[in-house]
């Protein structure tokens, strides 16, 4: 029988070491208490019905000792756990991007080059993968036990997380947050490949257009370009070079323009106004699907990157495709 899942990411070894340390502490204290209880119960068992116990004076020193020792041990656990946690929560700069849309009850994954997958994710070893995740309905949770990695996908925001796979193989992808009837069918596989295999996989299968190109189409479909089109005297701020830059807001704050900020500016434009521009942008809440939002973000990101060959210039208006509104059902009180 196995006691550990495969160790297939850079986190796995650290999490398992921490786990073993906690198991050692648990085993030690459980055995200590267990043995003491059994030994005392046997050694001091009642020998006659009118037996009187021996007086044992309370000991302040003992109370302090068994307060301080557990305190020291849990502080070691805390700092060690926090170190591993920091590693898990800080995506490195050189990660490749994968965009995840969760919905009842499937995972849709989009690669930057336009490859799309359903309940399957192909990633190379030795390369950090940054997930930008959105949910179209309820809370889901992206969980790969072999990576010791999990992150809730909360609707109404992007959840950003990362991992780096280390061992080629096929690993479970689970939804870990209960999400309704077919929760346990919201599962899939992560295929971890050597860089060569991964390149071969990328080369096979026509990806269609890149994600940024899809985003560029949506940019035009939704007429974003009429205000954010970089033309002189435009009503909205330019988006070129926006991603990752500090933005001066009308309330005096400055914030870094990340995925979350861009998303919020589309669905709730009045929340954070750029200094010097009037509050005239309408909300796109409910008008653009989560997948569409991810594509728009990918497009706006691409406006900040050094232009790769054949990347997104704003194309001519494509036939408009309104994404179906997410199904919402309330049939009983």
């Amino acid at each position: 029988m196995h006691f550990f899942p495969e160790e297939a990411s850079t986190f796995a070894r650290h999490v398992d070491s921490l786990y073993l340390f906690l198991i050692a502490v648990t085993a030690f204290f459980s055995l200590m208490i267990g043995v003491l209880v059994v030994v005392f119960a046997i050694k001091y068992r009642r020998k006659s019905a009118d037996e009187v116990a021996t007086e044992v004076h309370e000991s302040g020193v003992l109370e302090i000792v068994w307060t301080v020792i557990p305190f020291g041990i849990v502080m070691i656990m805390f700092f060690w756990g926090a170190r591993v946690f920091f590693q898990i929560t800080r995506p490195p700069q050189n990660a490749i991007d994968v965009y995840v849309t969760a919905k009842q009850w499937m995972w849709k994954l989009q690669h930057a080059d336009g490859h799309r997958e359903m309940n399957e994710l192909h990633v190379p070893i030795g390369q950090p993968v940054r997930l930008t995740m959105a949910s179209e309905d309820v809370i889901h949770s992206f969980y790969v036990p072999a990576f010791r990695f999990k992150r809730d996908v909360v609707p109404g925001r992007f959840s950003v997380a990362w991992f780096e796979a280390t061992k080629p193989g096929k690993y479970h992808l689970f939804c870990a947050e209960y999400c309704g009837t077919r929760h346990s069918n919201m599962i899939g596989w992560v295929y971890v490949m050597t860089p060569a295999d991964y390149q071969a996989w990328l080369a096979g299968g026509a990806p269609g257009e890149t994600l940024a190109a899809s985003g560029a189409k949506r940019f035009v479909e939704n007429a974003c370009n009429t205000c954010h089109g970089d033309q002189p005297g435009a009503r909205g701020p330019s988006l070129t070079g926006l991603f990752g830059r500090r933005v001066q807001l009308s309330n005096g704050q400055t914030i870094v323009a990340d995925e979350g900020y861009i998303r919020e500016s589309i669905v709730n434009p009045q929340a954070k106004l750029v200094a010097g521009y009037p509050a005239i942008m309408p909300t796109f809440q409910g008008l653009i699907s989560e997948e569409g939002l991810l594509q728009l973000v990918a497009y706006i990101k691409s406006l900040s990157a050094p232009p790769p060959a054949g990347a997104a210039a704003v194309p001519a208006a494509a036939p408009s495709q309104t994404p179906p509104a997410p199904e919402r059902k309330v049939s009983r009180p």
Binding site: E58, Y143, K150
Partner: protein
């Protein structure tokens, strides 16, 4: 109400003081209300237990082949709602607490006897409403009601169940209030705070949480209902709400709620360990103080349920360190109980077997809680069977062992009868073994990555699930045995002496079962509690 019937020369006590259904349903005697609660929690425990059996049946095989997915989801929700809100939270306080708090402090009744009866009716009405929802199609949100699933997407009876829980919540608030006022104002002459039994300290600490925490969950559950009916946009992101806000509000109560379950359990254990070691409890002030420390800290740790939800990294750090700190007062209790056995006169009667079982399960369950407080590790085990195993060890292993231990210990006082010693020992062992067999494999399958609330699961997890189901079958038998012999003993059991264990404590100074007014004369307390060595103290002072 009928008049007492001492015709056969029988002593009049609270059970035979009057007869008839009305004399029970309109009683304001805390002891009779405790019996009413005992019946109520037993029924809800049985319903929750049947649901648990069905869950384990489905999980015997990897495929979801016994029930449809939606049915399975309703079953585990029923299990959670019934066990948490209608068994665990009222369990020890409402049954044992109701019966014992006035007796232990030498009072005639609780401070507000009519409110006490009202609490029982609120509990039953709330429970019946929740049960109505189960029968009429059920609820599939899990007992945690996470939004926006519960407020927008679920097809179940969310609002009806929420109303049931809301009403039962007031029962809990009123019971807590009653205990708090009673302990403050109605202690017998000489019963200073440091002479008060540790059971009452535990009830006091739990009452603080019941009063301060329950209103928050009541409001939260009301908001869920309101959002579902009127689309308010509090938690639903499509309307600008925040689903994680729900989690903060929910766990602000529901984490302390586990201490509403475990503090009274610890309180019972403190009584059992001293009584069956015939020795003063080691570190009285540390055990009493640690109850209060747990009650206070329990309100500051709720964020550890949200380490992977995207809350700020720094909030995660604060909640992690605070969660680790809760472990310390719990550890202090375990060490003090163990030290109490040292050089004692230990008698292995059934209540002690349960108490030692509690120490084992609670120690292990508590230590595995550290895994979940630990940020880096929680990322992996969060929402897996590891968590399921952990909270069952603490809440079920802990609370039920203590509840049953306490029920055995005070059964002679409650019923005036002796339960069968042999079968009660068998039940303690069967439950302990069955429990470990059920839940230990779940730690392993959880670390391997099996998520909780899965109707079907990958084949490699089957062996551990089969072990768990086998254990659950044993556990189920273990719970049935006491049910049978307690009922049997009420009719056929031997009459109990007033103090069959030779224990200290005012409740043992009155007759078994006690008269309606508890004590013929108000007791006066002159010594420290648990004074087993000199044989003086409370005992000598009574009368």
């Amino acid at each position: 109400m009928n008049t007492p019937t001492p015709s056969s020369g029988q002593r009049v006590h609270y059970l035979n003081a009057s007869y008839g259904v009305r004399s029970w349903l309109l009683t304001i005697d805390h002891k009779r209300i405790a019996i009413l609660y005992l019946i109520g929690v037993t029924v809800f425990f049985a319903i929750g237990g049947i649901a648990a059996a069905l869950i384990r049946l489905e999980l015997l095989t990897p495929a979801g082949d016994v029930f449809q997915a939606e049915t399975y989801n309703k079953i585990f929700t029923t299990h959670g709602v019934m066990m948490v809100f209608f068994f665990m939270i009222p369990g020890i306080p409402a049954v044992l607490g109701n019966f014992l708090v006035p007796l232990m402090i030498g009072a005639r009744d609780l401070a507000f006897p009519r409110i006490n009866l009202l609490s029982w009716y609120l509990y039953i009405i709330g429970g019946l409403i929740a049960l109505w929802a189960v029968v009429h199609g059920g609820l599939d949100t899990g007992w945690t009601f996470y939004t926006p699933y519960s407020t927008v997407y679920s097809n179940g009876w969310v609002v009806v169940t929420a109303v049931g829980i809301f009403i039962a919540g007031f029962s809990s608030i009123l019971t807590g209030l009653n205990f708090l006022v009673t302990i403050h104002t109605m202690r017998a002459p000489g019963m200073t705070w440091t002479r008060m039994p540790l059971f009452c300290w535990g009830m006091y600490a739990a009452a603080i949480i019941q009063i301060l925490g329950t209103p928050v969950v009541a409001i939260t559950i009301l908001l869920v209902g309101a959002e579902r009916l009127f689309h308010l946009g509090i938690f639903d992101p499509a309307q600008g709400g925040d689903p994680v806000l729900f989690q903060h509000l929910f766990w602000f109560y529901s984490h302390p709620a586990v201490y509403i379950m475990i503090l009274p359990a610890m309180a019972v254990i403190s009584e059992l360990v001293t009584a069956f070691s015939r020795k003063p409890i080691f570190g009285y002030k540390f055990i009493a103080g640690s109850s209060i420390a747990i009650a206070v800290l329990s309100f500051l740790v709720w964020g550890h349920h949200m380490f992977v939800s995207g809350q700020s990294v720094y909030a995660g750090l604060v909640f992690s360190v605070l969660s680790f700190l809760v472990a310390i007062p719990s550890a202090i209790k375990v060490f003090n109980w163990t030290a109490t056995l040292y050089k004692g006169s230990v008698s292995y009667q059934t209540p002690l077997l349960y108490a030692l079982g509690f120490i084992g399960l609670f120690t292990f369950g508590g230590l595995t809680g550290l895994f979940l407080a630990c940020l880096g590790l929680d990322i992996h085990v969060h929402d897996t069977y590891f968590i399921v195993a952990h909270f069952h060890y603490i809440m079920v292993g802990g609370t039920i062992m203590a509840y049953l231990g306490g029920l055995h210990y005070w059964w002679p006082k409650i019923s005036g009868k002796i339960y069968p010693e042999y079968w009660s020992r068998v039940s303690a062992w069967v439950i302990f073994i069955g429990f470990n067999l059920t839940f230990f494999p779940q730690f392993i399958v959880g670390y391997l990555g099996m998520p909780r609330r899965y109707h079907a699961y990958p084949e490699e997890f089957q062996v551990l699930n089969v072990m768990s189901t086998a254990g659950a079958s044993i556990l189920g038998i273990g719970y049935l045995i006491p049910l049978v012999y307690f009922i049997w003993s009420m009719r056929y059991g031997q009459d109990a002496a007033d103090n069959p264990w030779g224990a200290t404590g005012l409740e043992w100074q009155t007759s078994s079962p006690p008269p309606t007014e508890n004590f013929e004369d108000t007791p006066v307390v002159t010594g420290r509690p648990y004074d087993y060595l000199t044989g003086r103290g409370e005992e000598a002072a009574v009368g």
